[in-house]
Symmetry: C2
Subunit: 452 residues, 2 copies
């Protein structure tokens, strides 16, 4: 079995592969708006069928189906699972796009479209790596499974239930996660973990209706209640003050820090891009990267009360809300933090504030020492000819823990995006070159995983 032969097949068929991708990008599949999901799931299934996989659409009770695909390898001993998703973010603001976000236009070596980077391009690159093996070798050296989620962009709310009911179907020896790519110097980047996220809403109530603010000396103001409650949650040094919040936070190992040192952080560009004179607490260099990766956070996502249009209105509002998210690191757990938050508010005299949970995703991490991690690193270096930038964990979140913690196998995130792919933003794109390299990268992982 020669990888060169496979690479050659990929090169020769690249135009066909791009057409496959464009066909998928043209199908809108915006989970936040429940738009085109069923149609997109059917295209995903058909594409896998066309490449010889057996498929199954697993309906979720109240959500979008998971599309499952499988193909056995010849005398294969191991199973590699690919986690992807066919849903995409809403394309708005439309006026900032250089083209229709569901057109798959190719311009200056880039393929544009909502979801092309996150993560339809990755899905197609993986499927085409499988096809390349079948067409050149007639078989695969490992068993391959695809799990294509329909709710990743809205928190994969039903995936736990699907996994619990289909443990056997989802079993594997390792998984490649949905995202990754190259940095601005062409270095491949891979990710071994994700933070967790707990999204909550706090609601305070006052009188049964808004009143004139002249009544302020007598009537409770829910906005002040929220301000005082929030102030007890985090201080100006960004220390989270909830009792026991940091109990389960582990320090990164020396080995992890060695990798973190190699993560390029172009802080001046970052600050310039965001119009900032400095990062929080003047963080810089390694300290900034360590903080970004290993520090949990509590973020106000939104606040609303009373009159917020232009000018002023002498109103004393009767309700106020704040939306918060907590970013968690291993081994913190969302349920534990939720209870600690509720207890904290009670202890501090804010039992009148209602706490609503909107979403919860656990943090997770695959150790650097795992053999599969080293397999992916080597494959990346073969394809990209550069030292791999390894993120022992990432500031982002997702349902990786369901595979890593519940199903119990190593998970590494790697893909075909580039520095300017603009996921979730207007003019999302991947490069044609990056897409083709991505297919070769996945083929290399399949081959190497079979032999180590």
């Amino acid at each position: 079995m020669s990888l060169e032969k496979i690479y050659n097949y990929i090169e020769v068929n690249s135009e066909k592969f791009i057409k496959n991708l464009v066909r998928l990008v043209k199908q809108p599949s915006v989970s936040a708006k429940n738009e085109g999901l069923k149609e997109c799931a059917e295209i995903i299934e058909r594409m896998m069928k066309e490449d010889g996989l057996s498929t199954k659409i697993i309906p979720e009770k109240e959500g979008n189906p998971v599309v499952f695909g499988e193909i056995k390898g010849k005398k294969a001993k191991k199973t590699l699972l690919f986690y992807d998703h066919y849903d995409v973010q809403p394309p708005e603001p439309l006026e900032e796009w250089i083209c229709d976000p569901f057109s798959g236009v190719i311009r200056d070596g880039k393929i544009y479209g909502r979801g092309v980077s996150d993560n339809k391009g990755d899905f197609v690159s993986r499927l085409k790596a499988v096809q390349a093996f079948l067409e050149t070798e007639g078989s695969l050296p490992v068993n391959i499974k695809f799990v294509v989620d329909g709710e990743e962009e809205i928190g994969s709310v039903h995936l736990l239930e699907v996994i619990k009911k289909n443990r056997e179907l989802f079993s594997a020896d390792a998984a490649i996660w949905e995202f990754g790519g190259t940095d601005r110097h062409g270095r491949p980047r891979i990710y071994l973990g994700l933070k967790g996220v707990l999204s909550v809403e706090l609601r305070a109530k006052g009188a049964s209706r808004d009143v004139h603010s002249s009544n302020a000396p007598l009537i409770p103001n829910p906005a002040w209640r929220l301000v005082w409650a929030l102030n007890t949650l985090k201080n100006e040094r960004d220390e989270i003050l909830i009792e026991g919040f940091y109990d389960d936070v582990k320090k990164p190992s020396e080995e992890e820090i060695a990798y973190v040192r190699d993560i390029p952080f172009e802080e001046e560009e970052e600050k310039k891009d965001l119009g900032l004179k400095s990062f929080l607490h003047n963080l810089s260099g390694l300290d900034a990267v360590k903080t970004l990766l290993y520090q949990p956070a509590c973020t106000i996502n939104g606040l609303l009360t009373g009159y917020t249009a232009s000018g002023s209105k002498t109103v004393l509002p009767n309700k106020a809300l704040v939306k918060l998210d907590f970013r968690l690191v291993p081994e913190q757990r969302t349920r534990d933090i939720f209870y600690k938050l509720v207890k904290h508010l009670k202890t501090h005299g804010f039992e009148d504030i209602e706490v609503i949970q909107h979403g919860a995703t656990e943090p997770t991490k695959t150790p650097l020492t795992d053999k599969f991690v080293q397999t992916v690193i080597k494959a990346a270096e073969r394809i990209y000819g550069r030292k791999t930038v390894v993120y022992p964990t990432s500031p982002a979140s997702g349902p990786m823990h369901l595979f890593r913690n519940i199903l119990g196998y190593p998970v590494v995130s790697a893909g075909c995006a580039h520095e300017e792919s603009r996921g979730h933003a207007p003019n999302e794109n991947i490069t044609v070159k990056g897409f083709i390299e991505g297919i070769k990268f996945m083929a290399t992982i399949i081959k190497d995983f079979a032999t180590v």
Copy 2:
């Protein structure tokens, strides 16, 4: 000169007077929407002209005109000024009205319409008291002036300028302010002062655009900045923490407290109406009334940042705003409080927060010992046959200080509303009986003021 003869004239002509009021109510004049102001000012002028007053429309540079009216008394030594306004609050929500808010429908002894209580009814009652003198006596015992504002409901933003340019025109020996009426037991209520109000907006800025909340460990969050800044302004005991905020706050005199003791406060009804178990800090009885009248306040009117629709969004917002009002008591001054606020924020490390002033009205008060106050109290008791409830000051605000402090004469607020007049709310109304009594009340003040 017999008041009985005048009262009789008022009774006989009451239907005509009601028609005059309905005609005025039918003209929309919503200053917040710049709707019908010019037309209403013209009606006001025409009504005064029809009753023999000389008039002047004083245009304001960027605002709605003030309508001025004047009539000299026969050998009169004193001048009484009436302050009214022809602008009204927006009528919304329309679906809660039992009739068109600009119809002036009369039902079950009540005249309905936006502005009928606040304060078109008062204006007409005063004008018709003047007419009653002219028709029965042929002359007035005092000089009468009318100042009819067109911007009271939007903070009388240009009135100071108008007064400065027309000091002589606005000179008088005393003034009757725009509002007042009877309580649910038919006792007349008058008011000798108003709180000041300083409306500000605080704005915090972060990065040049919203970012994903996974960046929270590095990127400043303006929402947290605002929460921390607000927390330094007021504590949970509702003590305002701005250095020097209370410096100019005077304790009420023993004499004032004696009147405050007589102010009926139906706290159980109030709490029930607002769905509250208790007032702030369990305030009750005299303590509650004293706090309401004499304590300055800092109120959050509105807060806005980031994502506030349903569910959650992992966004780190790049701007946040809060709208606040400070209710001030004599001898506090809005400019002084504004500077103390700005200095406080700077001292506490929040120099990054922008402070914008939206409006400022000074507090003011006429002393209980003023002869004019006693004149109004006696007139009220003659008409309503009940002991007058005297508010040495009121929790509300308005441009009274321009007359009391700048022009320098006593000002008492008295009018023809009732407990359920619903000013600023749907189904605003006054009773026919209250309107006619109001005309008699004003006629009595005119007569008594001439003789004391």
